[in-house]
Symmetry: C2
Subunit: 450 residues, 2 copies
C-alpha cells in the first residue's frame, strides 16, 4: 500500500520517523479526517512532532462509490482488510460506529501497541471499562473527545483542566437533533411530529429518529460524562432515561409562560449518596446559559466546587466538527507516542455508587385539570404533604365552565415543587391521579438548572 | 521544614514517591491552592498518580497576618527564602504576580528541573518566549491555564483539542471588571465613572482600575491567546489596545437601540496577511453568544475551520476559580513528571507576521451630528466613497431645531460600514471631521462578531 507522506521537505530537526495512521471507516467523519491528514500534513506534523502518515482506510466494500475517494483520498488507500491495516499502524482512528467489528478492531489495535482515537459513544458507554483497562495495560492512549458533543472540547477539560477540582453536577444538551426539534416547537408552536418531520427534511434527524428522540444517544454521552466527572464507571444501562416523545406543544407553550424552555438534558450529579445519571426533558429557566442554546447546537454546563459554573458550547455533530475533535486527539496521541508515554489513565478510583432512577432529587412542575370548586387546592396540597413533597408555587387558571347549571366546571392547576425524590413524586402523582376532583394530570416535567 | 503529606494510608499500588510542591505567593489564589493541596490530598494523589506534598509557601514577610495561615495552612510552611524552596521542589506554583522576582524564580525552577505552573499573565505576555524556550530545553512543563480567563479551560482546549484544526478567530471577554462595568451601564443606564465606582465598592474593581479599564489586562491575555491559536509568538507590545474609558452611557444606549451590546473584546484573527491582535470596546450583536455574557463572567468564542463556532464560559477571576485552573495544571504536570515526559511544547512554528494596528479590518458604527439640510448625506457618503469605505446602513434622526428662523437645525446620522481597514476608517473620520456640515463626530465604535 503506497504511503501518502507530507509533500514538503521536513527540516532536519523534525526528520522524525513518521507515525502510521490507520483509519477505520470512511463516512462523513472519516472522509474529513482523511482530508485533513492529506491536505494539512505539514501543520499536523509541526504540531504532533512527527509526520502523520495515512497508511490506509478500512471500508466494508472498496467498490462502493464515495465522495472524496479518487479525488481527495487516493482510491488505493482503501482496503477491506481492517486487521492487516490495524496491525501495521501506530495510531488507529475508529469512526465506523457500532459495537462490532469496532470493538474487536480497537482491542486488536491496543493489544498490538497502537494508540486509538474513537468517536464511538455507543461502544464506550457499553464496553468502555474493558477497553480502558486494556489500554492502560498496553500503555497506549484510548481517546474519545469526539464521542461527546462533537467538536466541543469537553472530555479533556473535565478530565484534565478540572483534575484539581471537585465536579458537583454536569448538565448537557448533547443531542443536536432533539435540541433542534424542541427549539422549533418553541419558536413556531409546532407539535413534536411536525418538528421531527421538518428536522428530517433538513437532515438534522435520521429517517429513524429513535436513538435521538428516545434519548439513547444522550444516555450514552451521559454515561461517559458521569464516568469522567466522578471518577466512577457508569455504563449506559445505569442511566435513567426518558426521551422527548411525550413533550407536547402545550408543554412548550406553558414552559414559556412560566419563564422556562424545554430542553432534553443529560444530567450527572453527585449527591451524598452517590452519583445520579439521567436523561430527560426538563424545564430550564430562561436566564440559565443553557436556555440560550438554540437549533442543533450542543452545550455542556459544569458546576464545580472551585471553578464555579462553566459552560462549553459548540457544534455537537457533523463531519467537519467531529473530525476536528478526532484530529485533536490524534495529535495528542502522536505526541504521547513520540515520548513513549500515554495521556491520563482512565480514572475510576472514586467508584461511587450509581443511584437508581427513583433516587434522583429534583424540582417538578405538575399541570393538572381539577374540578373548580372550593377545597380542591387543599385536597391537592394535602396529598403532596402526605408524601413529603413541599410546594414552591401554585398557579390556578380558569378552565371549562360547567356543562349545565348543576355541574362543576374545571380549573387548571400548575404546581411547582421544591426539590423532591423521584420516588416521592411518582407516588404523589399516582395519588393525585386517584383523587376524585382531579380530572387529568396533564404533564409532569422536571425543573433543572436552578 | 516539616512536610504535610496526605493523612490517609496510600495503598501499596500507589506508594509512589511524593512529588514536592513549592508555592510562591500566599494571596487569595495561593491560599486556595494550599487549602486544596492539604484538604484534598487523597483525591489529588489519585488523579496525579502520586501524592502532591506541599513543602512550603514563599512569602515576602512571614510575620504578616494572613487568612488561613495558622488554621488551614500550618504557619511553619511559610518561608521567606523562596530560592531554597524552589531548589528542593519537583513542581513550583507561582501565584505571586508581577515581573520580578517571579521571573527569576520561575527560571531558577526550570533550570533546576522543576515543572512550573503560573497564573502570571503579565510575565508570560512579556517574557513568555524566553521562559518557554528554557522549559523546552530543560524538558519540563510550564503551564498557565490560570493566566487566561481564570477557571475557564481555554489554554488546553486551544492548544490540544484544536491541535488538528485551523483557528480563524478568537473573540474573548477576558476581563471581568470591565464586563461588569459595561453590563451595569447597559442595565442601569449608568455613566462609566458611576459604574466603576460601584464595581470598586463591590470588590469587582481595584482602587486603581487602570489595568482593567485601559485594557492592559485584556491585552496580556490577547497576546497569550493569539500565540496559542496561531502558533506564533505575540507579545503584549504587539497588541493594539483601546480601553473602555471613552465609552459613554449614550454609546451603550445607542448600542441597544441598534440591536447590540458594548463589550470589551480581546480579538485575535488570522488574515491572508498575518495575525491581527487587538483589544477594544466593540458592538456585539444581541444574538451572538458573547452578548449574553453578563456581570463579571468571562467567555472566549473561537471560530475554527473544522470545529466551527465554540464558546467557553465561566468565572474569569477570584481565588477559588483561579486555584481550580492552577490545580488542573498541577495534576497534569505531576502526571508528566511521573512518566518523565512533558506536555505539548510551546508551538511557534507558524511564525506569522503580527500586523500593525491600522491593518485590522472590521466594521464600524459612526455616529455624528450634521447640519439638517438637503445634500448633507450625499457629502458624507462621498467622503466614505473617496476612502474606499462602503456603507452598509444609514439612520438619520431629528436633532436640534434651528436656533432662529434663518439658521439650520441639526440631525443625528448613524452610519454602519462594511468591513474596512482601520487606516481607511481613521482617514475617513478625519475627513468627515473637517467637512463643513459635520458639527461633531459623536462616536466611532467597531462592530464584531458578525
Amino acid at each position: 500500500m503506497p504511503a501518502h507522506t507530507p509533500a514538503s521537505d521536513p527540516s532536519p530537526a523534525s526528520a522524525t520517523r513518521a507515525l502510521r495512521v490507520a483509519l477505520l471507516g470512511c463516512g462523513v467523519v472519516g472522509t474529513q479526517v482523511a482530508r485533513a491528514l492529506l491536505e494539512h500534513a505539514d501543520d499536523l506534523a509541526a504540531r504532533a512532532g512527527a509526520p502523520l502518515e495515512l497508511v490506509g482506510v478500512a471500508v466494508r466494500d472498496v467498490t462502493k462509490p464515495r465522495d472524496g475517494v479518487g479525488t481527495v483520498i487516493p482510491a488505493d488507500l482503501l482496503t477491506e482488510d481492517a486487521e492487516v491495516l490495524v496491525d501495521e499502524a501506530d495510531l488507529v482512528v475508529e469512526v465506523m460506529g457500532g459495537i462490532e467489528p469496532a470493538r474487536t478492531l480497537i482491542r486488536r489495535a491496543i493489544d498490538g501497541g497502537a494508540s486509538v482515537v474513537t468517536a464511538n459513544k455507543a461502544l464506550l458507554a457499553e464496553q468502555g471499562p474493558s477497553l480502558f483497562e486494556a489500554a492502560d495495560a498496553a500503555g497506549v492512549d484510548l481517546s474519545f473527545e469526539a464521542a461527546v458533543a462533537g467538536a466541543i472540547p469537553i472530555v479533556r477539560p473535565v478530565r484534565e483542566s478540572l483534575a484539581g477540582d471537585h465536579v458537583r453536577r454536569v448538565l448537557g444538551i448533547v443531542n443536536g437533533t432533539t435540541n433542534y426539534v424542541l427549539d422549533q416547537m418553541a419558536t413556531h408552536g409546532l407539535e413534536l411530529a411536525q418538528a421531527v418531520k421538518e428536522a428530517q427534511e433538513l437532515g438534522y434527524a435520521e429517517a429513524d429518529p429513535t436513538a435521538d428522540v428516545e434519548g439513547l444517544d444522550a444516555a450514552a454521552k451521559a454515561a461517559i460524562l458521569a464516568s469522567l466527572a466522578f471518577h466512577t464507571r457508569v455504563s449506559i444501562g445505569q442511566v435513567a432515561r426518558e426521551g422527548i416523545t411525550s413533550v407536547t406543544a402545550d408543554d412548550v407553550a406553558w414552559a414559556a409562560r412560566t419563564g422556562h424552555v424545554v430542553k432534553l438534558l443529560a444530567i450527572a450529579e453527585q449527591t451524598d449518596e452517590g452519583v445520579s445519571v439521567r436523561v430527560h426533558p426538563a424545564l430550564v429557566p430562561l436566564d440559565h446559559p443553557l436556555a440560550a442554546v438554540r437549533g442543533a447546537f450542543n452545550a455542556v454546563f459544569v458546576e464545580a466546587d472551585g471553578a464555579g459554573s462553566l459552560m462549553f458550547y459548540g457544534q455537537g455533530a457533523g463531519g467537519r466538527p467531529t473530525a476536528s475533535a478526532v484530529l485533536g486527539d490524534l495529535v495528542s496521541a502522536a505526541r504521547d507516542k513520540l515520548v513513549g508515554g500515554k495521556g491520563p489513565h482512565e480514572s475510576a478510583y472514586a467508584s461511587l455508587p450509581v443511584l437508581p432512577a427513583d433516587a434522583a432529587v429534583t424540582r417538578y412542575q405538575v399541570r393538572m385539570v381539577v374540578a373548580d370548586r372550593p377545597g380542591v387546592l387543599a385536597q391537592v396540597a394535602g396529598v403532596l404533604a402526605d408524601h413529603g413533597v413541599s410546594i414552591d408555587t401554585v398557579r390556578q387558571t380558569a378552565g371549562e365552565p360547567p356543562a349545565d347549571a348543576t355541574g362543576t366546571g374545571t380549573a387548571s392547576l400548575l404546581l411547582t415543587t421544591h426539590a423532591a425524590r423521584e420516588a416521592s413524586l411518582a407516588a404523589t402523582v399516582a395519588a393525585l391521579d386517584g383523587l376524585e376532583p382531579v380530572r387529568e394530570i396533564t404533564s409532569v416535567l422536571r425543573v433543572e438548572g436552578v
